[in-house]
């Protein structure tokens, strides 16, 4: 099986964000990690390989900080990595980001492609379906279980309190949700082995004619006015709460 994972590299979700001239700025201390939802994709790829054999290739973009997280993915179990280099950094929300991934995938003969359901920094859940559409591949997003036997893939996902069960053949692109699995921690021997795995760097020419989004302003969300804090006996507190929700907010 030819298994592909699309990995975005993002600032650690605990990073304190700074603004400089209305631009989001990352300083040297920022830790760059594999997009958290993509870790479920890596784990799904590893489990798929363990059951059905094959090789796992990751596709990511260079941003100058990608080596460490990519090596981590390789320590988890990715066999080889392709890193796409562009003349200027591509935002994961841009159409060209999807086009560049698709260009790589076209020559990969993938049987199954995994990526996270959302990229946390740009808050973008469009990558999977966009790439699938460009390549005319079947897509199922936000999967919470996966089973493959007799050439039939069965996956489920949660949708508004219901569970949808899909069947499909390969090739397919799947986006992974948190409930799918628990990503493994790399063991020391695997971390050592990962250092010797192959990273291939390829370049991609950005097509300036693709649809573009311009960021015209970045700002911190308006702070909420501080509210009222009540102390007292539980009877008093309950009386106050019911009073404000009923009479002031008129929500009960």
């Amino acid at each position: 099986m030819n298994i592909i994972v699309i990995l975005s590299i993002v600032p650690d979700t605990e990073t304190k964000i700074q603004l400089n001239n209305k631009n989001v700025e990352m300083d040297q201390s920022t830790e760059w990690i594999i997009n958290p939802y993509d870790e479920y994709a890596i784990e799904a790829a590893i489990q798929f390989k363990e059951k059905h054999g094959g090789e796992i290739t990751s596709i990511s973009f260079a941003n100058g900080k990608e080596e460490k997280p990519i090596r981590k993915a390789m320590a988890m179990g990715v066999d080889k990595s392709i890193i796409i280099e562009t003349s200027s950094p591509l935002s994961s929300i841009s159409t060209e980001y999807m086009n560049a991934i698709s260009t790589q995938l076209k020559s990969s003969n993938a049987d199954i492609i995994f990526t996270g359901k959302l990229v946390t920094d740009t808050n973008n859940n469009f990558i999977g379906p966009s790439v699938a559409q460009i390549l005319n591949l079947p897509i199922i997003t936000e999967i919470s279980s996966i089973h493959f036997s007799d050439n039939i893939l069965t996956v489920t996902r949660n949708n508004a309190g219901q569970v949808e069960k899909y069947t499909s053949s390969l090739p397919i692109l799947l986006t992974t949700d948190k409930s799918l699995n628990t990503p493994r921690y790399p063991k020391l021997p695997d971390i050592m082995k990962a250092k010797k795995k192959t990273i291939t760097r390829v370049s991609y020419d950005i097509n300036e004619n693709s649809p573009q989004i311009t960021i015209i302003k970045s700002e911190f969300p308006q702070e909420k006015d501080s509210g009222e804090i009540f102390e007292g006996t539980s009877e008093e507190l309950v009386t106050i709460l019911i009073d404000v929700l009923t009479n002031k907010e008129k929500i009960l």
Binding site: S168, I215, K224, I242
Partner: protein, 312 residues
Amino acid sequence: MTIAIYLESNNNQITKSSLEIITAAQLIAKENNSDIFAIIIDDDISNIITEVGLYGVPIIKCSKNITSYQSSLYAKIISNAVKDSDIIIFPSSVHGNELAPMIAMSQNATSIPDVIDIIDQNTFKRSVYGNKIHQLVKSSGKIVLTIRSGIFDLPNKNEIKPEIIEIQSEIISENNFPNLAEVLNSISNRPELNEADIIVSGGRGTGSPENFATLIEPLADKLGAAIGASRAVVDAGWRPHDEQVGQTGKFVSPKLYIAVGISGAIQHLAGMSSAEIIVAINTDKDAPIFKIADYGLVGDLNEIIPKLLNSL
């Protein structure tokens, strides 16, 4: 200008997040004198048409007799319907988030996911970096949007009889594409987190999965609320993943959010700080949740919740 809105239905009723995008479309249309039409794909649409007409949507393009969701088939039907549209809006639901990017790519349009405010017909506000930053983004040309649920109110009633245009559904779906084999029974009768007006959310302070079940669940049911949970209790296995509110869970904007025994880690606040009214119940007076709460009750949830249940 023409605005297309994809309205999702469930049991022949338009979902709340879909009704909210009618409001969003009408907001853009008012500024530009644009035309709006709705796209509906379902097997029985008579109820839905009446409901959509109630909110003054003048044109409905519909595809009947399609019994189950299939992304590639739906994407083809919608693509055909929106060829001449300038803005195409989807609810930020599981299906909406799957279809919107497919339509964007098929139409060579800019895709703008998870919009939280509309400035004008090509300028939109988004939240990024786990809600820590708000960005205004602009694009020219054709645009496909999803809109976060709970941001816009329900549309005003303005009953009209919409013009119905049937759209071709003869497109044969590919055999090798995913088929929705079955929809398994609803996990619960409670509203979905993204659709709920009220959310009761519990954290580590509830003490145990059993306490969570005996305190948070009845309170949610009494209020007709959805249940939310902090990352700590989800990671501990007390609650299912799809209840997690926060940066690696769901972003919610209900009218009322009741945080019970949640200290308010930044990653949780990111997911719920846009709720209209926030009530926090916590023993620790210095808990960060109180900084964003409209009403903070400093006290023991084990005493407060049972009394609250008795008084409601």
